[in-house]
């Protein structure tokens, strides 16, 4: 699907305000799952390195083409932004009447970065954070949702998990070297 073929039809009821539910995927399957308050969300190594959470939203009462997804993590204590990724994508309407990004392409989801952790104090893995998603179509409809989550290094391979935990530890004054053995944080 692309902009040339997207019909920009309206999803839902134009008389109602936009609705959204935060969704994520683990980067392995194309399945998008709803995020609930207190959930663990996986930190996944994207192609470029570092660790991200692949996030989006299922939405309705909004137009479906070139919908902007702006995802970020925030520190719940300070509201400081910990990581941000925004991109636009066309939504696919499911049988349930909600529109979702096509989860088979991770480039359609906000690749919300959290690591390498460049904060000199805060560790990012295993520590609660606010996951926020702002959704906007091309016609002025917008909605923002957020949940308290715990970003977690979940990869099964021990070396990759150690790498994730190293990259998601606070940035030491002496610098960080994270190899596949986990390195020194």
């Amino acid at each position: 699907m692309d902009a040339a073929t997207c019909d920009d039809s309206f999803i839902g009821d134009p008389s109602l305000p936009p609705e959204a539910v935060l969704v994520i995927t683990d980067g392995l399957s194309s399945l998008l799952t709803d995020v609930h308050d207190g959930d663990l969300v996986p930190l996944v190594r994207p192609p470029q390195g570092g660790q991200v959470t692949y996030a989006g939203a299922r939405v309705r009462n909004i137009n479906r083409c070139s919908v902007q997804l702006r995802g970020r993590f925030r520190d719940p204590a300070t509201n400081v932004e910990l990581g941000f990724d925004g991109r636009n994508t066309d939504l696919v309407v499911g049988a349930d009447g909600w529109g979702r990004p096509d989860g088979s392409q991770l480039a359609n989801l906000a690749n919300v970065p959290l690591c390498p952790d460049n904060d000199p104090v805060r560790d990012n893995a295993g520590v609660p954070a606010i996951l926020e998603m702002a959704v906007a179509d091309q016609h002025g409809h917008s909605v923002t949702v957020s949940q308290m989550v715990t970003p977690t290094c979940t990869v099964s391979d021990p070396a990759m998990r150690a790498l994730c935990n190293c990259e998601c530890s606070h940035l030491p004054a002496s610098g960080r070297m994270c190899g596949l053995d986990g390195g020194t944080p």
Binding site: D2, A3, L82, G83, F84, R87, A107, P116, N118, G175
Partner: protein
């Protein structure tokens, strides 16, 4: 280590060569005289062929000259490359993954294949300096009191990419050089760099204004950006950078860097942009792809991340700032 070609060439630090010309068609080899030995050193990339239809990306390795135990400080660069260069990026060699060499070695790669094209091979190699100006010389002197520090014997890698195909042409073949000029005394401030790359991008035929924005949060306090440039390929429409506060809000009413020229993007010098403490840098790449274009025929003809200019895309930001805490990358 997977290296498809490695050989020693007539290259090295301090060897004279290069830079003339000024973009467009054939201009002959650029000529850049090396500095006097007391004034600096040159990283010289000797001429190599770029056949019609090919993209060649080579990685050359050099050692920083100097006296052991005495830091080398640089505050002035001259960077030159022949017409058709796609980029010249210079990195400090760190973790070895699939790409390495000794001083004087070159690793050759072509058409998207080979270790010099595999970005994960230099994921933690700090940026030193870069240019994307083919057929001309970038002459950059840092602000007073700012310099870049090197260690004698430190290994540097010059990655140089030439395209001689549809989107860019290299009528004179590949060639380039970089002059590093010494400071007389250590400066008050060390310059650091940020290499920021958004690799999970996908642009498909018919896409219009496909946008990817990322924030690079920094650990810096009191930092000032002094130069920047952005890099994407021919689907790129506009590249912008701004600075963000700790909450993630863009702080400048207009981006401090804007490029709508994918093949000769400006290197913006003379910047004086403060990074808010606790904030960072945002960078945005906007793409459009003609409905008849085709990147990867096995992926709906979409263009995804990669170094092959003809069929892949990039969204990379190069940022120079002081004072340095450490060099780091953002993804």
């Amino acid at each position: 280590m997977m290296i498809d070609a490695m050989k020693r060439l007539m290259m090295g630090v301090g060897v004279a060569l290069l830079a003339v010309g000024c973009g467009g068609g054939s201009k002959g080899d650029v000529i850049l005289d090396p500095p006097a030995a007391s004034e600096g050193f040159q990283l010289n990339v000797p001429k190599f062929d770029v056949a019609a239809g090919d993209e060649v990306q080579n990685c050359y390795f050099y050692a920083v000259p100097g006296t052991p135990g005495q830091d080398v400080w640089i505050n002035h660069f001259k960077l030159a490359a022949n017409v058709g260069t796609h980029h010249v990026n210079i990195f400090r060699v760190k973790t070895i993954v699939g790409l390495s060499g000794n001083p004087g070695d070159v690793v050759e790669s072509k058409n998207g294949m080979g270790p010099c094209f595999v970005s994960s091979n230099w994921a933690d190699w700090p940026l030193v300096v870069n240019t994307q100006q083919g057929g001309s010389t970038v002459d950059w002197t840092m602000p007073d009191g700012v310099g870049q520090r090197f260690t004698p014997g430190e290994l540097l890698m010059v990655q140089i990419h030439f395209v001689n195909a549809t989107t860019q042409q290299a009528p004179d073949g590949g060639r380039g050089a970089a002059n590093f000029y010494y400071m007389q005394a250590p400066p008050a401030n060390e310059m650091g760099t940020i290499f920021a790359t958004n690799q999970n991008i996908r642009v498909c035929p018919g896409d219009n204004d496909k946008t990817f924005e990322t924030h690079c949060k920094t650990p810096l306090t009191g930092a000032t950006i002094i130069a920047a440039n952005g890099h994407f390929h021919s689907r790129g429409v506009e590249f912008t950078m701004n600075v963000t506060d700790a909450l993630g809000n863009d702080m400048l009413p207009q981006p401090f860097y804007t490029s709508d020229t994918w093949n000769e993007p400006p290197m913006t010098l003379g910047l004086d942009i403060k990074i808010p403490d606790g904030g960072g840098v945002s960078w945005t790449c906007e793409f459009s792809a003609d409905p008849s274009s085709c990147g990867n025929p096995n992926d709906s003809c979409c263009f995804t991340f990669g170094g092959k200019v003809e069929s892949q895309e990039h969204c990379n930001a190069f940022i120079y700032y002081y004072p340095k805490i450490q060099d780091y990358s953002c993804f």
